[in-house]
Symmetry: C2
Subunit: 255 residues, 2 copies
């Protein structure tokens, strides 16, 4: 049985929070939480699936690879996000591979319980459908941005999503993971990312020191970025309003 702190974490996530006690307990009764190190592969695409996972802390990369080893990063998930949960609709195989990209606390849940509960809980089905709709919105936004935004704008959007909703200029934030991974998540080569970040600095006055970035004026950054997006800033994108997203931002006045 999971301890109280773990139970509480699970029940506060987007997916579980609307569910009744009984359904929730049935799904999480055989749950464990474990620390995994960077580089650990949780599962490989097309492998038979027994478990789905919930990120408690850290980051997990979802990806697919070609035979030649080229890799497409589909997403990088932070605390509160599920992975592998759709395998029950995909012949019980994983649709992508998943790798830990920094030490992460990962909750392992049995797919069989999820499947069994789905058969008689309309509330769970509804939660699952809402969850799938949010992912669809996020993917549609990704596809839109890859069509309409240039590389500096895509980085700008990534930075804006890291900002707290109640920001005050200037905002200083720390990139949550390696720049090469951010580049991959945004569908760019690392060299493109470096050039684009420099251009974004010129256009919007960013200050960059390693992985610490200061945005002197959010309005300037959002004017530059969001002109090539169908939503206006601050957007109601599921990413940015995700309450389980850890606060990685320190918001201070300088000088």
């Amino acid at each position: 049985m999971p301890d109280e702190a773990l139970k509480k974490f699970i029940k506060n996530t987007d997916f579980f929070q609307g569910l009744d006690e009984k359904t929730c307990d049935s799904i999480i009764k055989n749950t464990t939480s474990s620390l995994f190190s960077k580089g650990k592969i949780l599962f490989i695409a097309d492998e038979p699936a027994q478990y789905f996972y919930l990120v408690r802390s850290g980051y997990v990369k979802l990806f697919r690879e070609t035979l030649d080893g080229a890799q497409a990063i589909l997403d990088i998930l932070s605390a509160g996000h599920l992975l592998g949960e759709t395998a029950i609709f995909q012949d019980n195989t994983y649709p992508y591979s998943a790798e830990i990209i920094e030490t992460s606390d990962i909750i392992t849940l049995p797919l069989a319980s999820l499947k069994a509960e789905l058969e008689h809980s309309p509330a769970l089905a509804h939660a699952f459908l809402k969850h799938m709709t949010k992912i669809r919105e996020k993917q549609e936004k990704d596809l839109e941005h890859r069509s309409l935004q240039n590389a500096p704008q895509r980085i700008g959007c990534f930075l804006l999503r890291l900002c707290p909703l109640d920001h005050k200029d200037p905002v200083t934030l720390h990139l949550p993971y390696d720049k090469t991974l951010i580049a991959g998540r945004l569908g760019m080569q690392p060299e493109t990312f470096s050039r684009a970040l420099k251009r974004l600095r010129t256009e919007t006055g960013l200050e960059i020191q390693g992985s610490t970035i200061t945005i002197p004026c959010i309005q300037t950054l959002s004017d530059y970025t969001c002109v090539a997006c169908s939503s206006s800033f601050p957007c109601k994108d599921p990413h940015s309003t995700d309450t389980t997203e850890p606060k990685r931002v320190c918001n201070h006045h300088q000088g």
Copy 2:
């Protein structure tokens, strides 16, 4: 009430075919089917939603626009595909705009019936979840291709999906809609599309006459294209195995 032919069409689509008679009849009882001309806007993103739609014939473009009028094409749907169905999980507003791109027969269905049935039909919830999973797979594939495939490969993939599974070389096919729309669907500018199509011709021996394309050797085309994809040819992508997809392909031996 829908006539027998319309009922039969609906019940044979991917989404409806697994459902029991009663659930299906409740959703489709107030259904109509109408012809719409090219250019007709079915709905606009963020508008209040009362209906969802099913394509009976023709093509519908799903898109979003920036304030400046730049447009991102999210998808182009053919016969058997649903649109607007997720509005019930999105505050009853449409998540994208939809436009008819050639004369199309469109079935209009009330969202209220879908929502009401969802509350007490686990089978419907299951069908909806399978449907959402397929869309997620398709979008993940799109995102993967935009990271890993060059423009000629993305066109090659588009052509391969139009080929019948039981193809014999050579295959002649007619592009289902305007090249500018195909370019947009693949996330390219029209000029990029023209250049990429020429390169694909050089690399794989395509014969191109307006919107008629002859693929002399499917193996050559798939070798060139699928090397930059995590699936191998023929892929089990939902797009290519969709049984409701109209056959647009004539498969003949030449000479």
